[in-house]
Amino acid sequence: MSSSPNLIVPNVSTLGVKEEPGQPLGLFFWICVFWIGLNLFGAIFANVLPLQNPLYENFNAINAAPGLHHLFGTDDLGRDILARVVYGSRVSITVGLGSILIGYGIGAPLGMLAAYRRGRFDAILTTVMYLLLAFPAIIATIAVLSFWTPRSLLKIIVVIGIASIPLVYRVIRTATLSVATKDYVIAAKVQGATDRRILMKELLPNIAPIALSFFLIGVATIIVLEGALAFLGLSVNPPTPSWGNMINEARTVLSQNIWLALFPSLALCLFLIALNFIGDRVRAHFDVAENKL
């Protein structure tokens, strides 16, 4: 980094989006938050919303284009796509949230403790985790899920969740390490604060932005993973709708029905864009030190 203290270096951004510390998060940010909220709302309250039955097969209206009756059209079994997309969000969101919560539930406390305590505990644990990390998670997930039959949503969440533990561990540990060596933490220690107090008051607030950011990006990645699993037939069993399932089904009827491919794909991509954007913005917003001298 430049060593001349007199030379002021102008701020440059990491994504082509101008960022200043403490700058308001921007309109698009809130649009994304709104979109996430909308999806969450739909997922939770799907039952009470005025939707068609996602499992009802109407053979009079197969592969229908979007119209008054079916706002997103129907699939090749006559089921309403809009309803299936909304209900499908449940699977994706549940898997995304559930798995990352497992990863954080175990990986985060371990990571923080390891970074704070150091010593043998840290050395052993970190070596193990890094070993696990070297094992490509996707393959492990595919392998385990293909062998561990019969499949259920819970099993999927558990498998992906466990697979995400080493990654969460690494991120949280790295973040905690960079904070734990800061002077104010050492100062608190010298003042006689208990470990618990330091963890809660000093470390936690400072790694919160990175933790949150990675949380969101983790959800996004897992949702993508669930989609991939669906393509392999390893996700929830039909007729339960999930975004991945629907896109997979759409492949076979692609020439006759583009709506079945279009709407779940859109739903998925938009959700992912929103998640990624929020995750990235949160990180940039709080990370004052980045790229600024």
């Binding site: 430049s2 951004s13 070993l131 094992f135 490509p136 392999l232 896109i247 692609l254 990235d280």
Partner: protein, 311 residues
């Protein structure tokens, strides 16, 4: 040298994991592998081969012994050895990955340089927003869209499903058939490489020795390539290491959708047909490969910038 020990350790863990997979299945492994229609004699032979009567940790060593001799078992569907199945499928993955990486680097390096030279300029912003969007589109969706438009709607030959032929047979069609999957994988890689390189270049360009190079009257191009790129390439290689490891796996679905007989396609077929030995073999091979690739890259990074090992 420490790395070598680590490598061995990881491979060990992988092998144990792969080994244990068969035992996750409900029921007796022999029955599972051979199916219900198998004769008791066949089962008995398999029993012996896998040492299934022994306690589990001994089974592992039996299995390991088999592996080391290249004996991964027989494929249920095709009745050929698992290792020959893998051997014929692997080069295809390799080809796709190589092509995709060439595309990704060729696109990412110049654009990242351009953006680093004029951060927040128009080009930078467009690329930033665009790459962000691309990032959020999963490869399996992208490939479906591409197939839809290019193969079906535009009717470009050789790019559709089942169009694959081997390189030796007809290299033009070969490249055509691999173009869409390679392109799809390339977009994901491009985004990563672009972001990493751009960010690192911007940081490097702020260093004092760049100002000094400027003061020598050197051209921007020279400064960028000769002075800025070298240190920044370390970050790029690191990203490549992580990325390529994941590409093997990410490529699977793309292959499957286009019925390109690489490891991915084979794996998925095997899963569907319950050909577990093939699944196990592929899992093992791919995992080991990923780890080896990572270490290979680490080694190269070390050569490029010896400071890393000093730190």
């Amino acid at each position: 040298m420490k790395r070598l020990v680590l490598l061995v350790g990881i491979v060990f863990v992988i092998s144990v994991g792969s080994f244990y997979l068969i035992h996750l299945l409900p029921g007796n492994p022999a029955t599972v592998i051979l199916g219900f229609g198998a004769t008791p004699e066949a089962k008995a032979i398999l029993y012996k081969q896998l040492g299934l009567s022994k306690p589990i940790y001994l089974q592992y060593f039996v299995w390991l012994g088999n592996i080391v001799h290249g004996n991964l078992g027989i494929s249920f569907i095709s009745q050929t050895t698992v290792s020959s199945v893998i051997r014929s499928a692997l080069p295809i993955d390799g080809e796709i990955i190589i092509i995709s990486q060439i595309l990704a680097f060729a696109a990412a390096i110049p654009t990242a340089m351009r953006s680093a030279r004029k951060p927040d300029g128009i080009v930078d912003r467009i690329l930033g927003a665009g790459s962000f969007t691309l990032l959020s589109i999963p490869p399996y969706i992208l490939i479906v869209v591409l197939v839809l438009f290019i193969s079906i709607k535009l009717g470009v030959s050789g790019t559709g499903p089942s169009a694959y032929v081997s390189f030796g047979t007809d290299w033009i069609t070969n490249l055509e058939s691999l173009s869409l999957p390679a392109f799809t994988l390339a977009t994901g890689s491009f985004v990563v490489y672009y972001r990493v390189l751009r960010s690192d270049l911007i940081a490097t360009l702020q260093e004092e020795f760049i100002t000094m190079a400027r003061s020598k009257g050197l051209s921007q191009r020279r400064i960028m390539w000769r002075h800025a790129f070298r240190p920044s390439s370390v970050a790029l290689l690191g990203a490549a290491s992580v990325n390529i490891g994941g590409l093997l796996a990410a490529g699977f679905i793309v292959q499957y959708l286009l019925q390109i007989p690489g490891l991915g396609y084979t794996l998925i077929l095997a899963i569907n047909e319950s050909d577990f030995l093939v699944v196990q073999g592929i899992v093992l091979t791919v995992s080991v490969l990923v780890v080896v690739i990572n270490f290979f890259f680490d080694f190269i990074i070390n050569m490029v910038d010896p400071r890393i090992s000093r730190e």
